[in-house]
């Protein structure tokens, strides 16, 4: 392409960072140059390249972006559009170390505001962040030190000196006994950094079994198991895998969606950090069954430990010969909730802004790079191992008729023992609350938010509802991503709702009008209500909010906009605000 180069040159550090990813640049020889289609096909390396310079310097300068553009044949404006889309790229800033302080609904209950004030007072470079997926150990900070990398401090010690020094590599606590568990049985028990430990615990036997069974039989087992997707849409997995396998074309992809960003959700982090080889094994089976020769594990940018563990796991598994004819790559997100939406995730892997696409066409035929693609979230993938290992029938006996298998729930907020709990479908919310030690601090039950920011608030009556797809649908609640956030009776729900509204405003990709402007108008209305400055009467504000909710739900491109009013509307129905 005829790119117009930027005037600014990269520094040596920036050039080295990019070259270490792409290899050294070939000098212009004046006689021959190969480019065209093959040059433009490197676009998918844009995020890794931006990460490389951001990691090295704490910023993406003009010189660095220009160099990346040139190396990857991506127009500078396009690269800029991509870089400014993702919260973790600091475009054209001074660089240096930085803290990302979670001030979302759970960490807010755990003193995030105080933490921000302390950092402010200490002159620490920080910015506020949406949920970091550390709700079981709030309040949380993710920090970045150029050249060293990202780390997470959670819970943050009272003195801010600890913010940058904390190197927590433990995946968090599993409160249940390993013997009672299926999906989480290795977490905290088997060394997640050693393939030998994994193999010793039975690892990669399921892959061998899958190959013994053959793709069709695996799909049959999956169908028999009744396993449905754990990401929120609850699509039958056997049918999905079969769809990818049967889709026309030789070039196919499978993707593990580890971009877990729904506020209040942290179960996939626990699995990726605590049992990374299981994710790799599941992906190897996914590729084998669908005929995909390329796989991606897309890990949330705020999960540095998970990324490290998965990179190491993939490397060891490949070296040990478990990934024959299957190229598995770990890709890191860069701070965009929307990229958990599957089509936005495709765009992100391709090196674009994480803007969702209209469906249909569906990923099964038109996924990443417009090729047939299978995509599942981490919990679902780990559950497929259970199906293949023990058979679909055995799996189907767990849970209820329509909601089979074990399920992970992330319980956080005003509870004594926040954490991830593995239970059978059909367990009630009240039983889950008991597992988490009940409402903390002797306060009373205020409300529960099920399914995260995109979910719904429920009152105490929800405690008796069995957690299944069918029961929650009937009760008008949702399991969504498995996030369960409890609030006590002292909660300022107006503030919580405003934070949720702000979350959607901040995380809207900006592509479609209902969501881009609707989320702003929604937040403005809640701010007015919160400050007692309603435009007209409160009733008029509610009509406006209802109108906004309807247009966002009806007319947004993707699930983000379609659910951006869900929690707020449910809270208003409950009279919480």
């Amino acid at each position: 392409m005829d790119l117009r180069a930027l005037l600014e040159q990269p520094t040596e550090v920036e050039r080295d960072a990019v070259d270490s990813l792409l290899g050294p640049a070939e000098p212009f020889n004046g006689r021959v140059m190969f480019g065209g289609h093959s040059a433009r096909q490197q676009r998918h390396l844009l995020l890794p390249a931006l990460h490389a310079v951001q990691d090295a310097t704490g910023t993406v300068t003009r010189g660095a972006l220009g160099y990346i553009s040139e190396r990857l044949t991506v127009p500078p404006a396009e690269a800029y559009g991509v870089a400014t889309f993702y919260a973790l790229f600091d475009v054209d800033s001074a660089g240096g170390s930085k803290a990302h302080v979670c001030d979302d609904i759970v960490c807010a209950q755990a003193g995030a505001e105080d933490l921000c004030s302390r950092l402010e007072a200490d002159g620490v470079e920080y910015e506020r962040s949406p949920c970091l997926g550390q709700c079981d150990r709030a309040p949380a900070v993710m920090y970045h030190r150029p050249g060293t990398g990202y780390g997470v401090s959670a819970p943050v010690a009272a003195d801010t000196a600890g913010v940058f020094g904390f190197d927590d590599l433990s995946p968090g606590v599993v409160h249940q006994e390993a013997s009672e568990l299926r999906l989480l049985r290795r977490v905290g028990v088997v060394d997640p950094t050693s393939i030998d430990a994994y193999i010793e615990s039975g690892g990669f036997q399921t892959l061998a079994k899958a190959k013994e069974l053959g793709p069709e039989a695996v799909i049959e087992e999956l169908k028999m198991s009744g396993l449905r997707g754990r990401g929120g849409a609850a699509f039958p997995i056997g049918i999905k895998w079969e769809g990818v396998r049967d889709a026309p074309g030789d070039e196919k992809y499978v993707i593990a969606n580890g971009d877990e960003s729904e506020p209040g959700t942290f179960k996939d982090r626990l699995v990726m950090e605590g049992d990374p080889f299981a994710v790799v094994e599941a992906m190897a089976i996914y590729g084998y069954v669908t005929g995909a020769t390329q796989g991606y594990i897309y890990v949330r940018g705020e999960y540095p430990t998970a990324e490290k563990r998965l990179l190491a796991a993939v490397r060891q598994a490949a070296a040990a010969g478990f990934l024959d004819n299957f190229d598995l790559e770990v890709r890191r997100g860069a701070g965009a909730y929307i990229c958990g939406e599957e089509t936005a995730l495709f765009a992100s892997i391709e090196g674009h802004r994480g803007e969702p696409r209209q469906k249909p066409p569906f990923p099964t035929t038109h996924g990443v790079f417009q090729k047939p693609t299978g995509i599942n979230n981490i919990e679902t993938l780990v559950a497929t191992l259970e199906v293949v290992a023990n058979g679909g029938e055995a799996f189907a006996r767990i849970g209820t008729d329509q909601s089979t298998g074990p399920k992970l729930f992330c319980v956080s907020g005003a509870v004594s023992n926040p954490g991830v709990f593995e239970v059978e479908f059909g367990t009630t919310l009240g039983e889950l609350l008991d597992l988490a030690g009940g409402i903390s601090g002797g306060s009373g039950f205020g409300a529960v938010l099920m399914g995260g920011a995109a979910g719904v608030f429920a009152d105490e009556s929800a405690l008796d509802v069995p957690l299944t797809f069918e029961h929650t649908r009937e009760a008008g609640t949702t399991m969504g991503s498995g996030a369960i956030v409890f609030f006590d009776d002292q909660t300022d729900f107006t503030a919580v709702l405003r934070r949720i509204a702000q979350f959607f405003r901040d995380e809207s990709c900006g592509q479609c009008v209902p969501c881009r402007i609707g989320t702003v108008r929604q937040e403005e209305a809640l701010a007015r209500i919160g400050s007692g400055a309603a435009l007209g009467s409160i009733e008029e504000e509610k009509v406006r909010l209802d109108d906004l909710a309807l247009v966002m739900t009806d007319a947004s491109i993707c699930g983000l906009g379609q659910t951006a009013a869900s929690a707020i509307q449910s809270a208003m129905r409950l009279g919480l605000a």
Binding site: M1, D2, G30, V32, G35, H37
Partner: protein, 536 residues
Amino acid sequence: MFGAGGGTSSYQEIEETDLIIMWGSNAREAHPIFFHHVLKGIHNGARMFAVDPRRTSSAAWADVWLGIDVGSDIALANAVGREIIRQGLTNEEFIREATEGFDEYAEFVDDYTLARGEEITGVPADVIQQLSHEYGSAETAQLCWTLGITEHHNATDNVLSLINLALLTGHVGRYGSGLVPVRGQNNVQGGGDMGALPNKLPGFQDVEDDALRAKFESVWGAEIPAKAGKHISLMQESMDEGVLKCLYVLGENPLQSEADSQVMEKRLKGLEFIVAQDIFLTATAELADVVLPAAGWGETEGTFTSSERRVQRVRKAVDPPGEAWGDIEILSALARAMGHDWITPTAEEAWDEMRSLSPLHGGMSYQRLDDMGGIQWPCPDEDSEGDLFLHGRLWERPVTTMKAPFFPTPYAAPVDTLTDEYPMRLTTGRRLDSYNTGVQSGRYASPRRIHGVLDLSPEDGDSLGVQEGQKVKVTSRRGSVEAPVRFDRSLRPGLAFMAVHFPDDLDVNVLTIDAWDPKAGTAEFKATAVRVEALA
């Protein structure tokens, strides 16, 4: 090609072809909307090769760029031809049924080995081989060129050497496969269509053909000279010989647009009488004895013919200023003043008379041109919709019309040779926002304008010890100019470039050589030997 002069294909074909070769054409800048169609082809999966000494903005889109030495095109084409034959990628059926002279051609190009091709062109042999392989095996291919092929002393041979490749592979006369010379000026195709060529009457009808001439004479009521006239280079020769004494210049600026402008100035000043008919008082018009102010674009009616042979209406949107007249009015009045009984026809009346004589245009009434958004010739009658591509006849079996001949074309180096005294190759061309000598394009405020500069590789800048913007002296065997330097990373050391648009600031034609092609009359603007010196 093989008869009427025009590109064989339509723009839409390049959107659907498998392989695009841009040979000596920077269409991205010189023909931007044509390049839109190229880009659609690329996005539809076509592969692209660019053959150009510079890695131009067009070449930047190519899958493979071949940075040949200026003027070595024939050597490359012949080496490609030999390699296609050697690899067995010729279309034998097409060659047998639709062409003539293959054996002579094959024998002729046998000397042009890959090694010799590399030696002459500077392009590695394996890359020449790759081009050969892809052109030879593509299902469909479009071979496009512009002035990089034709502004040479051997322009005609350059073009023929490319045509040979299309004949070898059958990449002509089929939808998606063709030969595409993209025209540099709005109506240079139309000018040819209308017989503004020394040897043709309207519709490319030969002036030396008695029957054709008689047809025109009967309608025009006048006798037409039976001999072909002179093209512009021959005219210059005649001026030098003192034979040509009077020049009537319509809408041209030869003082600034022709090679070796110092010699051109002497020639023009040596004439007895010059009439200049133009919309501006150009440098040439300033030398004229009589200047006839003409109405320009937007002020008159008529037609243009585009590079895909599409004849389209041009219309009057505003009144001409002052005393300017349309060309038809001027010419008619002039005829009357010379004692002829001419009316002043409307553009449509003149057109209708022309199309009654030119079979290519017969069916192109103004009404049909309006209704159909232009028509691509040939369009012999009002039932014809025109043709998307030419030479489909070569795929009829048997071919009942003239078969397409191979023309063995010997490589000949540029006339202006590189020596120690003149070690650097200067080539010329256009930039995106400007046009020819800037008579029109110089009058709008382009934010992209690069005024008169010498483009050099940064390496040459270093060895000369000059910074960007610093002035240097550029000297050829004919003259010298001073120009600020601009670094262009798409140039290799030893190659320099100047645009032609700013003759008043920087007259590149002081440097260029007036060596010209004996068949086409085009001068070798593209290859000048120069010396560049830093100014103290």
